[in-house]
């Protein structure tokens, strides 16, 4: 064949065996990006916010610059607690999957700040539309780990009644929406929710999260367009953890522009933030939420972070990226960074940290025990199988009653 193809194909900087290389990640010094007033005209701020990187924690673990949210010790401790809880929960549930106790799991290792700081920066009445890697939102809103474990076990207390795969949680009382297997569908839904809030004249806003890979889906565009046209009070988050299963962020367009830069094209401010900097994520979310609540419209936030572990328990990342990539990730570990800052601020100590880890570990042990009491994959109480036919509609319609009867007859 004499063809000389000239189609550009994106290449990640490193493949298995190569030395990790994150030189492509543009990193601003902490404190370098100005913090505009929430009412500033987009034109005047778009370049800096979308292309630079909002960072608060510097290399010495000090908080610097205009985005420092000046959180008090209590808030910091709460943040650290839930980040640690998220991490420990992930660790254990991953182990449970490996032991065959649950069928599937997805960790958020290395991305804990993205969820926990955001949830803390938002109000309890704000509605959250997560992806499958935002378990931190649940913890930060005070969810009992038992609830999530029951979902993972599809047991009698599973809020999904056994109908969803593990990790597809929701929480009505906590204002956390259901996770769909279909990527990005929650994005326009969040915008619609926010539109309804504005129509009703309510104060609550919506926030949604997708991965950078998911930003290629149609619903990203739907959400951005509707949010822009109606100035919907919504915070739209893209979690750029560099990978979408086996493809790196270049396959979603990240080779050319930060994902935050998509915002300004729609007339929506885009803010690029160090997703591993708890304080920065908090501050940026707060800023976006304030804009939304004041009627200034939506904000797009790109959280620059790294998916430290496999995509899911079905994945093996050593097939497509260097094993030690995370170690080379220039933005470090969000948990360690917050902890170091707190220790420096005398808001925390190693001893406290150890105690907290022990406390949370014990809590998770107990939680698991408790959750298993509501049924496991092999033992204990099981969901009523007749539930299979419920909730397709509000009422069980005649054809489903017939099918349920048929099912029961067969069971007998």
């Amino acid at each position: 064949m004499t063809r000389t193809p000239r189609l550009h194909i994106p290449h990640p900087p490193a493949r298995p065996g190569d030395t990790p290389d994150f030189s492509y990640v543009d990193i601003s010094p902490a404190g370098a990006v100005p913090r505009p007033d929430v009412t500033t005209r987009l034109r005047d701020i778009e370049r800096s916010l979308a292309f630079e990187m909002v960072r608060v924690l510097d290399e010495e673990h000090a908080a610097v610059g205009p985005w420092d949210p000046h959180l008090d010790h209590h808030d910091l401790q709460v943040g650290l607690r839930y980040m640690l809880l998220t991490r420990l929960f992930d660790e254990r549930m991953h182990r449970m999957q490996r032991q065959g106790k649950i069928s599937f799991y997805m960790k958020s290792l290395g991305e804990e700040a993205v969820s926990v700081a955001a949830a803390q920066a938002l109000e309890p009445g704000d509605m959250l539309f997560p992806s499958y890697r935002n378990q931190g939102l649940h913890f930060a809103r005070g969810r009992n780990p038992v609830d999530l474990m029951c979902q993972l076990l599809s047991n009698t207390r599973d809020m999904c009644k056994g109908r969803q795969m593990p990790v597809m949680y929701h929480w009505v009382r906590g204002n956390i929406f259901s996770i769909s297997g279909n990527l990005t569908t929650q994005y326009p839904q969040a915008v619609g929710w926010a539109m309804a809030s504005a129509i009703k004249g309510e104060e609550d806003i919506a926030a949604a999260w997708i991965g950078e890979g998911s930003s290629a889906e149609a619903d990203f565009h739907h959400a951005m367009t509707f949010a822009s046209v109606y100035m919907a009070p919504v915070v739209l988050n893209i979690v750029n953890n560099q990978w979408a299963i086996s493809t790196f962020q270049g396959f979603a367009g990240g080779e050319r522009r930060p994902f935050a830069a998509r915002g300004p094209g729609y007339g929506i401010p885009g803010v690029r933030v160090d997703g591993n900097d708890f304080l920065a994520v908090y501050a940026v979310t707060r800023w976006a939420a304030e804009r939304a609540r004041q009627g200034a419209g939506p904000t797009l936030i790109e959280h620059v972070t790294y998916r430290a572990d496999a995509h899911s328990t079905s994945d093996d990342p050593s097939r497509y990226r260097p094993r030690d990539e995370w170690k080379a990730w220039p933005l470090g570990d969000p948990l360690e960074r917050l902890k170091a800052y707190m220790i420096r601020e005398h808001a925390w100590s190693e001893a406290q940290h150890e105690a907290l880890a022990a406390e949370l570990g014990a809590q998770l042990d107990e939680s698991w025990e408790e959750a298993c009491g509501f049924g496991t994959m092999t033992d204990g109480p099981t969901l009523d199988r007749n539930e299979l036919f419920e909730d397709v509609f509000k009422d069980v319609l005649p054809h489903l009653i017939r099918q349920r009867d048929q099912f029961r007859d067969l069971e007998d």
Binding site: M168, F177, N182, P188, V191, K200, H222, T225, K394
Partner: protein
């Protein structure tokens, strides 16, 4: 009682529901200031404001996606898809989200969205303004699906759809917006004012979702049909000189199996008619159901009369449309069989 066209009846249903329930909103392309390309929402924005009757970007996926979010936040959105042919960009939001939200959340979240959309041909609309895609949606679990055949049903069923807490797809056969077209394009158009079902109460009323209607009783054979085809079948029965029992299905999900069974058990013969293409159309489900329910009563093979298995061809519209002649031929065939 007033005399209304189908468009007026639909407009009246939405008017009443916007008035009764502050949570009802309308969202769609050109539905606001302009009142919709078929005028179904005429005057409603003026009356209820721009925040209740909302012009939307041209993005069906966004229209459905946003409506789901609105529904979750306590509103009761009516989404208009300008032509049923353009519902496909919203397909994922309908099928993966709207239809399954209640189930996947163990009944804890739901979005009471009604999707209205004009369907069907006979208006020289070519392949992208003539489709009847209801069959595709009937295979999706979690949607209620309606297609009325006259102004009275349209209003009563649309009000029920809006009030329903389940998502409802509401197909409007646009060929009969202004009159009960009987399949003969050469005949002068008959207006709804001359049809008994053009008599429509001005105020609130609702019709139950899930009931078929026997629009004409007969002993010879049962005809299962809906939408425009109800009127075509009535005319065809005269043409074929058979005493057809014509059942207007009205709601595909839930399907009124009892009415169907009773009729076919009585007549022993059955013709199924729809405008959509034949292969895997809703007629297949009707045929399978009749066969399962009435096997021992059937005296002749069930016949399906449908659009051909091709896209809707602009210039060959009346060769494509399952008109009186084709329906009548099927009736005769079924009567002669067995």
């Amino acid at each position: 009682m007033a005399r209304m066209t189908m468009i007026q009846a639909l407009n009246s249903a939405m008017d009443i529901m916007l008035d009764r329930d502050p949570d009802v909103v309308i969202l769609g392309e050109d539905v606001g200031y302009f009142g919709g390309v078929f005028r179904a929402t005429e005057g409603l924005q003026r009356k209820y404001g721009e925040h209740r009757v909302i012009d939307a970007p041209i993005a069906e996926g966004g229209i459905i996606g946003a409506a789901i979010g609105m529904g979750v936040n306590g509103l009761r959105p009516i989404s208009e898809i300008q032509f049923a042919d353009y519902i496909y960009p919203g397909f994922d939001q309908i099928v993966s989200e709207l239809a399954k939200l209640r189930y996947r959340t163990g009944g804890e979240f739901f979005a009471p969205v009604t999707i209205r959309t004009p369907c069907g041909g006979g208006i020289r609309g070519g392949q992208t303004h003539s489709q009847s895609p209801e069959g595709v949606f009937t295979h999706v679990c979690g949607l209620k699906i309606i297609m009325p055949s006259n102004p009275y049903d349209a209003k009563g069923l649309l009000i029920s759809a809006i009030e329903d807490d389940d998502p409802v797809l509401f197909f409007e056969p646009k060929r009969i917006y202004n009159g009960p077209f009987d399949g003969d394009p050469d005949k002068p158009a008959m207006p709804w004012s001359q049809h008994p079902k053009g008599e429509v109460p001005e105020g609130y009323y609702s019709l139950p979702i899930g009931l078929a209607e026997v629009v004409r009783e007969g002993e010879d054979l049962t005809v299962l049909c809906y939408g425009t085809m109800v009127h075509v079948c009535e005319a065809a029965a005269k043409l074929a000189e058979v005493e057809a029992e014509i059942v207007d299905i009205r709601t595909m999900i839930p399907l009124d199996v009892d009415t169907i069974r009773q009729s076919v058990e009585k007549t022993g013969r059955c013709v199924i008619v729809h405008e959509a293409t034949r292969f895997s159309g809703f007629g297949a489900e009707l045929s399978a159901t009749v066969q399962e329910e009435c096997f021992y009563s059937l005296e002749a093979p069930i016949e399906r009369v449908t659009g051909w298995d091709t896209p809707y061809p602009h210039a060959f519209e009346w060769d494509y449309f399952p008109g009186q002649k084709r329906v009548a031929a099927a009736m005769v065939k079924v009567m002669e069989a067995g």
